[in-house]
Amino acid sequence: MFKYVNRPVKRVDALAKVTGKALYAEDISFPGMLYGAVLRAEHPHAKILKINTAKAKRIKGVRAVITADDIPGSKLVGVVKLDQPVFAWERVRYIGDGIAAVAAEDMDTARKALSAIEVDYEVLPGVFDPEEALKDDAPKVHEDGNVIVYHKVRKGDVEKGFKEADLVIEREYKTQFIEHSYIEPEAVVARPVDYGGIEIWGCIQNAFTTQKNVARVLGLDMAKVRIIQTPLGGSFGGKDDVMTVMAARAALLALKTGRPVKLVNTREESMRESYKRHPYVLRYKLGLKRDGTIVALQAYMAADGGAYASTTPFVTWRSTVQAAGPYRVPHVKVDTYGVYTNNPYTGAMRGFGSPQANFAIESLMDEAANELGMDPIEFRLKNGLRDGDETATGQKLTRHRVSLHEVIEKVRDAINWEELRKNPGGDGKIRRGVGIACSFRGASLGAEGVDIAGVEVKIDSDASVSIEAGLTEMGQGIKTVLAQVVAEELGVPIERVTLHPYDTSRVPDSGPTVASRATIVGGGAAQAACWKLREVILGALQEEDGAERAWFEDGVYRTEKNKYSFEEAVGIAIRRGKGLNAVGWFRTPDIHWDEEKGIGSPYFTYVYGAQAAYVEVDTETGKVRVLRVAAAHEVGRAINPAMARGQIYGGVAMALGYGLLEEFEVSEGIPLVKNFDDYSIPSSLDVPEVIPIIVENPDPDGPFGAKSLGEPTNELLAPAIANAIFHATGKRLRELPMNLEMVLLGRKLRRKRK
């Protein structure tokens, strides 16, 4: 039995957070620190004719004013493509582009200096819709055309499939821009250091990506750029590219002035500059037999990537390979485009391409069930993947338990499906209904990149343990998970385990903390490090006792002669001169994806989820209230069940915003949203009762059988609500968010620019 793993251990980082002691990026200051500010573009697409900084430089208290001309190395950064300027020169491509930055003795002076910078533009026609951008005569956002990326899936022969079908339905769905809305705005502090480099403290989600890009911009070795991650006040995928750009600017200012520089975005700047979730247009065609068997599926998707590529190539890839949902479909054809426009750029956000595809496929499944006169759950169970089945990309699911039916059945029972479908309640203008959505989700990075992580575990002479890990704590609880794994595997009390901050100069590069991969790869690496340490300790005990055998069991170190606690065993190992630190590595099993042919096994394993929503619609006002949500998620094994439930509550709330409330409205490239007063994320008054259900079917390839959970919780509620609204009112909504106007009028009212 486990002592720490699979138990609701308390968070290791929460005490500092409830006492106000946790130092977030904006809380950090250094003596002699300057304050930075950034001037941003005035048009979504324009030529820059002239930038005049002379006046700004003359203002008292201004220590530096910099533009692209002051960049010693690469002027461009990017995760996949180097296409985003640290400071725009010659051309601006979206309204959040930075043109220049100032460092001054105080914030007021810095802001004053910004308004003294003069920029002359020649406005260019822009393109603001991805499908417009795909046309030949569309304005080009970048020289090499507007297609960022194209992905496909090809399996069987869809034409043949549609011919065999008794019923073919075609539908179009649309999703919106949304804002991550982490409550902490972006912030960094950069300071020059005496080894000829730079140290950057900041709420940077993927410190190694930032390190690499900043080094490129500064023209320095990566070893001279040290990124120290501060606790993230939320990220959800959002503190990546935008932080890289911010870190690069702060570093340039710091090196230019020789002083520490703090750069903090106001909420307005954050909303203007930061990337969003991709809006998609999705067109589906589905072929069915009378008995409800799916025979063919075709999907076309266009995702608005905005001005820069960011992670669009990966986001759209996930949408593509998961486009057909967790169903058996013999004939599949999917085509996906990620496209440049002059809108705010889009990138990683919790879900990463699945919330959009799931909204479409899970609404479509409901529409299909309705056309066939079948119950939506019965229809899903009939077509849903089971052990040994082949996915829409041709992957045979044989290594892990396919838990789709289990999660669907669990939410069906928890929400009281049978009864509510028959008698949903409500009367007159108030209608009620219940709907479901389900998914499978590839765990970790998949064929996006090398999926490897390293964690260092070190034992000090007093038998306390420290962990150095390059995996990001953003509230999801990875620090606690790592402490639990190490406590379990070494037999050390968890109170004696400490996690140090994620510092690129001290931890192994473990890739980005994305794709809900931290528990799998970080947990696996921590486990591997502990195993190495255990070998060393057991070797020492064998020597000590002159024993035949030494082993570790139930948290205790043993030889055939003696038993030792962790502390005793460590004492002996140290006395015998053993080195007690180790780096463990974990690499996910190999996968194969053929991008040319559009077929393969994109992920080594999958997690399964289902959510059901019971909703109430006021048919006079269009107001939708979610009364209750049941959410069942299969996670392999939950390292910390309390935190797993926490992920479900949080993911459901965020998805409620996506489904009903949120839209980052953009008109011709200009955001109509400036702050939280015109962007409503769910408040405590909006969240429904949530029944979290954790299903555990340990995976042979994850540490302790664990897989992932962060994102699946956030990818199902919008279609579940849409399906419930249909049940309640007979109205099918195919566009997000399903706010008053959509529910009432079936279309969006466009707001005017302010």
Binding site: K10, A653, V687
Partner: protein
């Protein structure tokens, strides 16, 4: 900007400061007094991250100007309870796993304190209402609501 001198107390300590008249209480706390436990999320009174108690009432400190602070009694998260002597609310937040990224938490705690100071036995609706101005993007609020209920029980037991 015109400067003014303000006298007030923060977490029981007397403070005298000379600051520009347009300075907000949030900036006074964070920048002038180094009390960075109070967070900044929007600077417009929309997110609640900057909530503190002023004369026993919860306020968004980003909306309070220096002049209004004269003579006031301010309590911030740092004054709620330290590691050695946690306030029952802090304990309950830990016990209910109500903290994820933690950025909203100082403000949440102060709004919750204001509620429990007035209403030792709040209903779920009253709790939801009391923290409706405090945005949290991580927790979905449910663990926070439970923590506040739990803290109310703790406080009752102590009496």
């Amino acid at each position: 900007m015109k400067k003014l001198t303000v006298n007030f107390t923060v977490n029981g300590e007397r403070v005298r400061l000379r600051v520009p008249a347009n300075r907000t209480l949030l900036d006074i706390l964070r920048e002038d007094l180094g009390l960075t436990g109070t967070k900044r999320g929007c600077d417009t009174g929309e997110c609640g991250a900057c909530t503190v108690l002023m004369n026993g009432r919860s306020v968004n400190s980003c909306l309070v100007l220096a002049g209004e602070v004269e003579g006031a009694e301010i309590i911030t998260v740092e004054g709620l309870g330290g590691e050695e002597a946690l306030h029952p609310l802090q304990e309950a937040f830990l016990e209910e796993d109500a903290v994820q990224c933690g950025f909203c938490i100082p403000g949440m705690l102060m709004s919750a304190k204001y509620l429990l100071d007035r209403n030792p036995d709040p209903s779920e609706e009253e709790i939801r209402e009391a923290i409706s101005g405090n945005l949290c993007r991580c927790t979905g609020y449910i663990p926070i609501i439970r923590a506040i209920k739990r803290a109310a029980l703790k406080l009752k037991e102590r009496k």
